[in-house]
Symmetry: C2
Subunit: 368 residues, 2 copies
């Protein structure tokens, strides 16, 4: 069962992995100023990795714990140790941070986990926005490779290591593809809310569910010795609706939550003009006047504080907020049903269920 | 021996790997506009990978061929097939392209291999500079993971696969670190030419020699069955001076070459204000007046065509160009001496020597 001690182990492990990876080689023999910049990037790597709720790592561990007691479909293999599983779980977290660092450059976001985003922090240290962005790109690259390096180290020596590493690499690919798809949704016109709804929901599978819920579950099952087929089927059945619900709630919190809850300014998505399911629903459900207002606000180049307030009001009175809440509830039920069908003991299932519930309790101040 | 047929195989293999990786999943069910953007990124991935001289892949294959006939120090293992070696060699090329895509964003470069750089091409297609840059970041991410995916596929099933994959990941890390160090050199003041010289030359190991010469040699030796220790020692002895010479020549060609030879505009480095060994030498060797001119030009925010012409003239008359040529010749001799000490047959060594010579013959129109 995942515990407070797991959380501490995860934090220590992530810091050690990142620190070890972005270190200054001892035989470098370079001028101090060169080594200093590498130290700065190394410190930022550690700092960017700090402060996450570790939901993905905890889910991977919980899936492993639940699956370990059963042989699954019998086509599986020798399980990995829990220590190795923990390292792999940390690799998922490091990969997430790498994606967030690049995502914040793409979205030009100032804040992440309640602190300046990586490229902004680096820009401040170097007193140069361009250098900050360049270092942010390189930091994201370093962390992405660091995560694969960590995953590769975790599975080394295991006969099914290559299979598990492949699942890890597939996760990265799906997220990269999802990020491209996310940009494509951002470019969609607003004249067809149904199309926008279908696109947004479809993209959530790739950009969010892939690494938030599906891959942690799959990697946990695989490390417990389950076959790739069985691990994949159950991970998707439980993880896809859970991950999509997670993203819908994320977008909902951005509009009607508090910045203490997300570490990001409220209404940030609206200010960016981001196309969301919430917006698609509001366009579908509102009257002509509100629909025209929404389109004119979202089609303009910039959005003021007043615009944000107005959009939030329309999101509420159109019923879009309520509809997102219904979507979330429906998807969570779907995920729970799939969890019921998981071939594990009752106690194990309940504990996994508790961890899945963490994905639905993000109104607390330390939410990811 | 590497042949024209190897070159064709390499091109086909790279395109197949990239196309297969950045494909639209068949069960995606997304609106056409979303899938279209993914197609666009996929096409750009193929196009960005085209047009390279494949020096790194050819060097890896040549190292493999040379090393295959001997057992090395006897501590080695079963060699991989030449087909698998070719896939791994292509993975190095794909990784290079991923690094170039991000590097062109960092340097804000318009051209690469004689065509628009990836983010510029994507900006043109999407008629939006911001979207072009965002897609460029994601394309670099996709290609970096694609290269590891390809490397991981190439070594799968080999008992020493994890060791070879580790060498591949180390290469990526070294290049990422090298890129950060390269930025640090770019931030150095110009009042200490000796420090600048030491920094530039030191950074070349990480940002260039790492993946241009050292890793191809090391991976070739490893795949031929040599031990990690022996592969590493010889790869560094031959590859480090060869790779540093390659980078010095690259900087030299940028200043005094032709744009047909490099696919990049002449004087691009000078226009960017890039700190190079050439600049360090010119600062050391020129008289007070020229030194003041260099500093004032390189310390200002922008450099005109006239500035570029003036800098090139100072590079020549100070003796910095001649000094770079001497540096290159000295490093090549050092590399040749290390090659002489390689424990392989005479014919094998000569063929590897021929491939190393490709790194010194870049005045041809298709240079990388």
């Amino acid at each position: 069962m995942t515990t407070a001690s797991d959380r501490r182990t995860i934090e220590t492990c992530i810091t050690a992995l990142v620190r070890g990876y972005v270190r200054v080689p001892s035989d470098m023999g370079l001028p101090t100023s060169c080594e200093e910049l590498l130290h700065t990037v190394g410190d930022q790597a550690v700092s960017s990795n700090a402060g996450g709720k570790r939901l993905r790592a905890l889910l991977a561990l919980a899936a492993y714990d639940a699956a370990l007691a059963t042989r699954g479909d019998g086509a599986g293999h020798e399980p990995m140790t829990r220590e190795r599983m923990t390292e792999l779980a940390c690799a998922i977290e490091i990969f997430q941070t790498s994606a967030l660092v690049h995502d914040d450059i793409i979205d030009d976001s100032d804040l992440r986990r309640g602190k300046p985003s990586a490229h902004k922090a680096l820009a401040t240290i170097c007193a140069d926005d361009g250098v900050g962005q360049s270092l942010g790109i390189l930091l994201g690259d370093l962390l992405a490779t660091a995560s694969i390096d960590a995953a590769s180290g975790a599975v080394e020596g295991s006969r099914h290591g290559p299979q598990i590493l492949r699942a890890f690499l597939d996760m990265q690919r799906n997220v990269d593809v999802g990020q491209v798809l996310d940009l494509s949704v951002g470019l969609m016109p607003l004249d067809d809310p149904n199309l926008l709804e279908r696109a947004s929901l479809g993209v959530f599978r790739w950009k969010t569910a892939s690494y938030t819920t599906i891959a942690p579950l799959e990697l946990g099952f695989l490390c417990a010795g389950w076959s790739r087929e069985q691990a994949g089927i159950h991970a998707r059945a439980i993880g896809l609706p859970l991950g999509v619900a997670f993203q819908i709630e994320d977008d909902l919190l951005d509009a009607v939550g508090s910045s203490t809850g997300t570490g990001k300014p409220v209404g940030g998505d609206i200010r960016e003009g981001k196309r969301t399911v919430l917006l698609a629903d509001a366009l579908s459900l509102s009257d002509d006047r509100d629909r025209r207002t929404l389109r004119s606000i979202f089609e303009s180049d910039h959005r003021s504080d007043e615009d944000v307030t107005q959009v939030v009001a329309i999101f509420r009175r159109s019923g879009a907020v309520a509809q997102s809440e219904e979507r979330i509830a429906r998807l969570r039920r779907e995920s729970a049903t799939a969890l019921d069908a998981l071939p594990v003991g009752r106690g194990d299932r309940e504990r996994l269920c508790d961890t899945c519930a963490l994905f639905a309790a993000r109104h607390s101040p330390d939410a990811d």
